[in-house]
């Protein structure tokens, strides 16, 4: 919105912006107006009530006023805005003084409690020059090598370096050997949250040898606390999002409930019966890769939800691909999905159902997870907001234009084809077989989890950051 308003103003057009009356949204908007070089854009703030069909009558004079009231001196001002440089030493002090300084003033959105400025709210490891120098030994890259971040919502640009990533990795408690993963997380944009609410503030999966080298958990309780590599990298992703990616909870991260996990990361299990996700995404089988989802993600253990009745104990414990189909059919989001299988379940499904390649399972799910054509045709997300298209903010192509596409719209899911079919036809719910990402992780025994994925996963080389 701010980008469009600024562009029109630069073209000589007087603009008035209609926006929700919300302190977080409004504060973010003001920051974005400056970033776009037109800080004084006029707004009319309207009630945040999506049930309204028209605005109360007092709003029309507000629009007229914003269109016609002569400009103030502040609104006519021009100049150079110089943001803080945030370089070098931050402070000297005791452990407690440093914690307080990093927490900052603890102000925030009026509807939530105080929010820390430079931490996730927990105490951090003080990022001294020595600790940061040790962290930088985990990569061969120049500490001054630039890394640029783009805010997800706020169309901002943030300039950082390899050293800045190291500072945040120290604060998170990472060991130096985790540094290549932290840098890949930074390249992916860090954990800046998704619009709307989800299980994960961001989901990352590591595939390849580095997972074992740094001791990541891909087995029992891979989502649970306890593993130093998983937990510190998860925290590094969060701190990178806050300090380098511009995430401010309650201001530009506006999840109404918030996720269960923030910045979740775990490793793919090496005992997968299929090709690894690194290979699946076009990298070498021995190359370490970070998958980063460009939109919100859900992941629900299947035994927590009754998606289909079972007839045998084996079915109850293992589940079947048919159960996965039933689960995925309940999704209302059609951009993508995740299916996470334990190694034993993956092996069983491969042998029992003939999914010799990961692609075979993806194809099966694509064909069987269907809905009626008439439901597809009136789907709000597809047709009103266009989120089924494989372009735009929710699919990564805007923010990461150079990433290879992991999937495109399958011809069988094309609007041209589906619009010709009768209303009662079962049509694929997903845009492509590749839209369902299959992950093998978890302890011995059988279990699987499933969920929707609002955006697509993109793969980043970790080895390039060694």
């Amino acid at each position: 919105m701010s980008r469009v308003a600024a562009h029109l103003e630069r073209k000589g057009m007087p603009v008035v912006l209609e926006s929700f009356e919300d302190p977080g949204i409004n504060k973010t908007a003001k920051l974005n107006f400056m970033r776009q070089g037109v800080p004084a854009v006029r707004e009319v703030l309207t009630p945040q009530d999506t049930t309204l069909k028209s605005l109360p009558e007092e709003y029309t004079p507000k629009f007229i006023d914003a269109l016609t009231r002569p400009l103030t001196e502040d609104e006519m001002a021009s100049g150079l805005h110089e943001p803080p440089r945030n370089e070098g030493k931050f402070m000297s002090g005791t452990y407690d003084e440093i914690q307080r300084a990093f927490e900052g003033e603890l102000v925030g959105h009026p509807s939530i409690g105080p929010i820390a400025e430079m931490t996730d709210g927990l105490p951090i490891t003080p990022p001294t020059e020595r600790r940061v120098a040790d962290m930088l030994k985990g990569t061969s890259h120049d500490p001054d090598e630039p890394i640029e971040f783009t805010g997800f919502w706020n169309s901002a640009k943030y300039l950082a370096t390899v050293k800045k990533v190291a500072i945040n990795a120290v604060m998170a408690g990472c060991k130096p050997e985790c540094m290549p993963v932290a840098l890949a997380i930074a390249e992916a944009g860090g954990c800046v949250g998704y619009p709307g609410d989800s299980s994960f503030g961001h989901l990352f999966v590591v595939s390849g040898p580095i997972a074992k080298e740094i001791g990541m958990n891909s087995g029992f309780c891979f989502l649970a606390p306890g593993n130093p590599a998983n937990m510190t990298l998860q925290r590094a992703a969060t701190l990178i999002g806050i300090n380098l990616g511009g995430a401010i909870f309650g201001i530009n991260v506006l999840e109404r409930t918030g996720p269960l996990h923030w910045g979740t990361i775990f490793a793919e299990d090496e005992n997968t019966p299929w090709e690894g996700l690194n290979h699946h995404f076009g990298y070498k089988p021995d190359e370490s890769v970070l998958l980063s989802w460009e939109g919100k993600v859900q992941l629900v253990p299947f035994q927590n939800i009754e998606v289909k009745s079972t007839e045998t104990l084996q079915e109850n414990q293992v589940g079947t691909p048919e159960h996965a189909v039933a689960a995925l059919k309940t999704l209302t989001n059609v951009n993508g999905a995740i299916l996470s299988l334990t190694p034993d379940t993956a092996c069983f499904w491969k042998e029992e159902y003939g999914f010799n390649r990961m692609k075979d399972l993806q194809e099966y799910l694509y064909e069987h997870v269907t809905w009626k054509q008439r439901v597809w045709a009136r789907n709000y997300w597809l047709h009103k907001l266009g989120r089924g298209r494989q372009s735009g903010y929710f699919t990564g192509s805007n923010n990461r234009p150079n990433r290879p596409a992991d999937y495109e719209v399958d011809e069988r899911s094309s609007t041209e084809r589906l619009s010709r079919l009768s209303e009662d036809t079962d049509v694929p719910k997903f845009v492509s077989p590749g839209a369902v990402t299959v992950i093998v992780a978890g302890g011995t025994g059988n279990a699987w989890a499933w969920g929707g994925a609002y955006g697509r996963p993109l793969a980043y080389s970790i080895d390039k950051w060694r």
């Binding site: 919105m1 469009v4 029109l8 103003e9 073209k11 000589g12 007087p14 603009v15 008035v16 209609e18 926006s19 400056m34 070089g37 037109v38 854009v41 309207t46 069909k53 028209s54 605005l55 709003y59 029309t60 007229i64 269109l67 016609t68 400009l71 006519m76 150079l80 805005h81 943001p83 440089r85 945030n86 070098g88 030493k89 931050f90 402070m91 000297s92 002090g93 005791t94 452990y95 407690d96 003084e97 440093i98 307080r100 003033e105 105080p114 003080p126 990022p127 020059e129 940061v132 640009k157 943030y158 300039l159 950082a160 800045k164 500072i167 990616g245 907001l385 372009s391 735009g392 805007n398």
Partner: protein
């Protein structure tokens, strides 16, 4: 909002820590374009950038027309979304004397 930290005791270790934050680039900014001296005879584009809540965006245009009848008010739902507008959208918005941008999602 919070109490000032107590000064540290001399026997506690003192750390010098580095700034963990990124920086934003400098921005040259400009002022707004002059507002309209009157709405009479002017063409106001009410552009819906988001594609949701058509009713309320249409009502803004209708209400404006109702109060300021001497101006032309055009409700325009953009073909692209706010992040990826198409040329036709820009041409339409620039065809007016002023633009109200809305989303009300």
């Amino acid at each position: 909002m919070r109490k000032k930290a107590k000064p540290y005791k001399s026997d506690e270790p003192v750390y010098t820590v580095l700034d963990p934050r990124s920086k934003e680039p400098e921005v040259e900014f400009r002022g707004l374009n002059p507002r309209l001296d009157t709405l009479a005879g002017k063409r106001i584009i009410v552009a819906n950038l988001h594609g949701g809540n058509e009713e309320i965006m249409e009502s803004i245009a209708a209400d404006l027309k109702g109060v300021a009848g001497a101006c032309e008010v055009v409700y325009y739902p953009t073909k692209g979304r706010w992040a990826d507008l198409v040329q036709e959208d820009w041409d339409m918005m620039l065809s007016g004397d002023a633009v109200i941008l809305g989303h009300n999602y």
